[in-house]
């Protein structure tokens, strides 16, 4: 592999800068997520050509264009399915999937659940702003009950999804929550998520300053409490994690809820990949095997 060519010390924040600058609204939470991702990649010193950033559609899904890695800006809700195929075809690549709450929990909800139970080795960052932004402000699957939007002008009457509980139930092996306003903390979670061998889910409060006037920086700041500050909290305890995931209100936990390392990731569990990534394989079926396929039919 050509991965050794890049001297580790070379990678700087400037190397991670994409071809264009973000066109997010000034003050958007997504700036913080982008910066933390770039910082994490610099700190981990992963050669940029071995990283693929994959997104769906939405404000936050524009992120791959703003970071200098290989990128795929796919369809609304489909990023995890695309990422699964890509990872299985070349499991030497580091895969980071980014998107929003509508993309991931609404239209992509089915893929979200199944990618978690498969334990595909990738980091999935959801920039959760509890609103549809790019379509100019409609209710999202994480909008609170009562929230008034253009699509529910008299207030939302549907209970929001709890992404952390859902991820725990679906079998994700690394589950964390970050806040765009907590840069250092978020960077560490991203680093941990990338290094975790399996599916890492990182739900990030990334406030929409244009359309969500309920869940603002000011609203989150006094509420978020880092799980790491609670020395008694054990992130290998699934039941404790489930209990913590239900906390919402005056206190909202952020940090690593849960991690387990005893479940092999999908590519590690598949013997077909024992000989290395598919992309490097010979296209031809060995003649003796081809013959055996035909003999079975005679």
């Amino acid at each position: 592999m050509a991965t050794s060519v890049q001297r580790a010390s070379q990678l700087t924040m400037a190397d991670l800068k994409g071809k264009v600058d973000p066109d997010w609204c000034p003050g958007c939470g997504d700036f913080g997520v982008l910066a933390a991702l770039q910082k994490a990649l610099v700190e981990l010193q992963i050669p940029t050509h071995n990283v693929v950033t994959i997104s769906g559609i939405g404000c936050s899904s524009n992120l791959p264009g703003y970071v200098n890695t290989y990128g795929m800006h796919t369809l609304h809700g489909r990023s995890l399915a695309v990422a699964t195929g890509l990872k299985l075809a070349n499991h030497e690549l580091t895969v980071v999937v980014t998107g929003g709450d509508g993309d991931g929990f609404g239209i992509g909800g089915n893929h979200f659940v199944h990618t978690m139970r498969r334990n595909v080795d990738l980091l999935y960052i959801v920039m959760d702003n509890q609103i549809y932004g790019l379509t100019t402000g409609q209710t999202s699957p994480t909008s609170r009950i009562g929230m008034k939007t253009k699509s529910m002008p008299f207030g939302n009457i549907e209970a929001p999804v709890n992404p952390i509980s859902l991820a725990l139930a679906a079998g994700a092996t690394f589950i964390a929550r970050g806040f765009s306003g907590e840069q250092k903390h978020l960077t560490e979670l991203i680093k941990e998520g990338i290094q975790h061998k399996g599916f890492s889910f990182l739900d990030v409060f990334s406030p929409c300053v244009t359309y969500n006037h309920d869940n603002t920086y000011q609203w989150f700041r006094p509420r978020v409490k880092k799980l790491e500050d609670d020395t008694a909290y054990d992130s290998t305890d699934w039941t404790a994690a489930m209990e913590k995931s239900l906390l919402w209100g005056e206190e909202i936990p952020i940090g690593k809820f849960f991690e387990r390392t005893d479940v092999p990731s999908l590519h590690a569990a598949e013997p077909v990949l024992n000989e290395g990534p598919l992309v490097h394989r010979d296209l031809r079926i060995p003649p003796d095997i081809a013959r055996s396929f035909i003999e079975e039919l005679t």
Partner: protein
């Protein structure tokens, strides 16, 4: 007339119709005979009615034919449904203890087997089936050792006692027939040929393996599931990653993800699943990431008739995904072609970085045909087009880690831009479903630019010219200037071919234009062929004449008549022959033959 022999076995699902079918197929195949097997069945796991017809002969057999020579009803329902299909010279073997025949046509031999006298039915639940196989083979003039050999293989896993039991029951049936039933006048011939017997689904899966497919995924859907089954069973031997996915939306997106990483990736489904894949196909086109998608058509719309065949998805394929983009659509002509087509369409998809769509149908997918092993070529030409990988030298190890000036969507005369896969240094870019400029940067939002949009649209669409040149032109089979030209596409090739033979024997000269590559369609070549035709008829397995409408939209050509069938069952040769005759006599311009076999 072709010298062929057809045996039909019918019963309830779960009653063991498949096993006698497999045994007959093996015996015919080992005599060096060709065969075609078609199973008419219902969407039910136990019960209902299923009716398998195996037609065999020394010559090529391409369809189920018009005539049943031997009927083996395993229950009364089958007898009631199908005895009336038998004509003079045919025979019907049945369990005299449980089944009563109705009125049969003159010259039909009824062959009652006293099953409880010939076998211990308390020990052997399928004794009637085994007795009937034995009796039938005697009447076909096949020696008993051929059956003994196959029974030994069939029951190998169940141990010697079961083998001995079944061989002795088969022998009893064989001997009983010798003493009680008249044999068929012509014993089944024997040749030195050896064929492989396979379904279209197996053929497409194997064709994928031969093409170098390394990633296959699917959601189970009849009648495409056989592709998944072959892939899953042979994944480890063939080094193919095979996944069962949560839905067809996931399937197409996973396939594109794998293809984007640089492997050849394929998936198969039926019409309903294909509908879910539609948006994904647009992504393949926009990102210029090639994939091959197989649609095994079944009778629609909606859930439709899941176990029956149709050619009703042509317009869905033509219109799949919104917007204009280059696509390739091909319909395999027979089961051997199901294999051969896959490497061919992969080469075109790879060279032109666009989706390749295979329009198969239940008739080929689940039918079985004898194919000469030479036709199953595991070393086909492989052309991956302009692909930049770390291995092929374009991934310069001294390259800077940043983008350099690589342009993934570079404007070229052919419209094809060299494609770098993730992991290659110096070629970093983002592939997007949004419209983009040459370097991949979006021009959908802040940088919207009508000039750039037009240029990128034209770049992609320029590929169509190259695809047209890469796709072979259709050719006419049979003499030019015949009385009638039959035009078909895909799976109807064999049955139209046989209808032409019959028409020619009856003094009506007929030729055939069978279309394999549907998009791009060589309209000019088709018009050139048809300009000498005296009477043109389009034959297709759907209601509205989907191909007729497509041909008209592309060429303004209107045929003299149409033969269509949309009852879920395939054409039989006589359906076409009789329709041609009524149309030549000026009775109608649209014939819709009635299917006589009721399943």
């Amino acid at each position: 007339m072709k010298q062929t022999f057809a045996v039909s076995i019918g019963g309830a699902a779960g009653q063991g119709v498949a096993t006698p079918g497999d045994i007959f197929a093996k015996i015919f195949s080992r005599r060096g005979l060709n065969l075609n097997a078609y199973n008419a069945y219902q969407s039910i796991i136990r019960g209902g009615h299923t009716f398998l017809t195996i037609r065999t002969g020394a010559e090529k057999v391409s369809n189920m034919g018009d005539r049943i020579d031997l009927l083996i009803p395993l229950n009364q329902d089958t007898m009631n449904r199908h005895l009336n299909l038998l004509r003079a010279g045919a025979s019907c073997i049945y369990n005299a203890d449980t089944i009563k025949p109705g009125p049969a046509a003159d010259g039909v031999q009824l062959c009652p087997l006293p099953v409880s006298e010939l076998a211990d039915i308390t020990r052997n639940k399928v004794a009637q089936n085994t007795l009937a196989i034995g009796a039938g083979l005697h009447m076909m003039g096949i020696g008993f050792p051929a059956l003994e050999e196959v029974l030994k293989e069939q029951f190998k896993k169940k141990g010697d006692a079961v083998i001995t039991e079944n061989v002795s029951v088969a022998r009893a049936g064989y001997d009983y027939a010798a003493g009680h039933f008249a044999a068929f006048p012509n014993p089944l011939p024997k040749t030195e040929n050896r064929y492989a017997i396979l379904s279209g689904n197996t053929a497409m899966a194997m064709g994928g393996a031969a093409a170098g497919v390394k990633f296959y995924c699917a959601y189970p859907m009849s009648p495409s599931t056989g592709v998944l089954h072959w892939m899953a069973a042979n994944a480890r031997k063939a080094g193919i990653m095979v996944r069962q996915v949560e839905d067809e939306i996931g399937v197409i997106n996973m396939t594109i993800g794998a293809a984007h990483a640089g492997v050849r990736a394929m998936c198969a489904t039926s019409g309903g699943g294909f509908a879910l894949m539609s948006e994904g196909l647009g992504m393949s086109a926009m990102m210029e990431t090639p994939v091959v998608v197989i649609n095994c058509q079944r009778a629609g719309p909606s859930t439709g008739v899941p176990t029956k065949t149709e050619q009703g998805d042509l317009w869905q394929m033509l219109g799949a995904a919104f917007g204009d983009y280059p696509r390739v659509i091909a319909a395999p002509l027979d089961i051997g072609d199901c294999f051969k087509l896959i490497p061919e369409i992969f080469n075109i998809a790879d060279r032109f970085q666009c989706p390749g769509l295979v329009l198969c149908d239940l008739l080929l997918s689940e039918g079985r045909l004898s194919v000469h092993p030479k036709e199953l070529d595991f070393s086909p030409a492989i052309d991956r087009g302009e692909l930049i990988t770390a291995a092929n030298g374009n991934g310069d190890s001294s390259a800077a880690p940043t983008n350099g000036d690589y342009k993934r969507y570079k404007f070229t005369e052919s419209g094809v831009s060299p494609r770098a896969i993730p992991g290659v240094p110096g070629h970093i870019h983002t592939a997007a479903t949004d419209e983009h400029q040459e370097d991949g940067v979006l021009i959908s939002d802040e940088f919207t630019n009508p000039t750039k949009r037009r240029a990128m649209m034209e770049k992609r669409m320029r590929k169509v010219t190259g695809i047209e040149a890469a796709v072979p032109r259709p050719t006419l089979a049979g003499p030019r200037g015949a009385d009638v030209t039959l035009i078909g596409w895909g799976s109807t090739k064999g049955v139209i071919e046989e209808a032409c033979e019959i028409l020619n024997e009856q003094g009506i000269s007929a030729n055939q234009l069978q279309i394999r590559w549907l998009a791009p369609l060589h309209g000019d070549a088709i018009l050139e062929i048809l300009k000498d035709s005296r009477h043109t008829i389009i034959v297709e397995n759907n209601y509205s004449g989907q191909f007729a409408r497509y041909l008209r939209s592309e060429t303004s050509f209107v045929p003299n008549g149409n033969i269509r069938k949309y009852d879920g069952e395939p054409f039989m040769p006589h359906h076409i022959v009789e329709s041609v005759k009524e149309q030549l006599a000026g009775k109608t311009k649209l014939s819709v033959p009635t299917h006589e076999i009721m399943v």
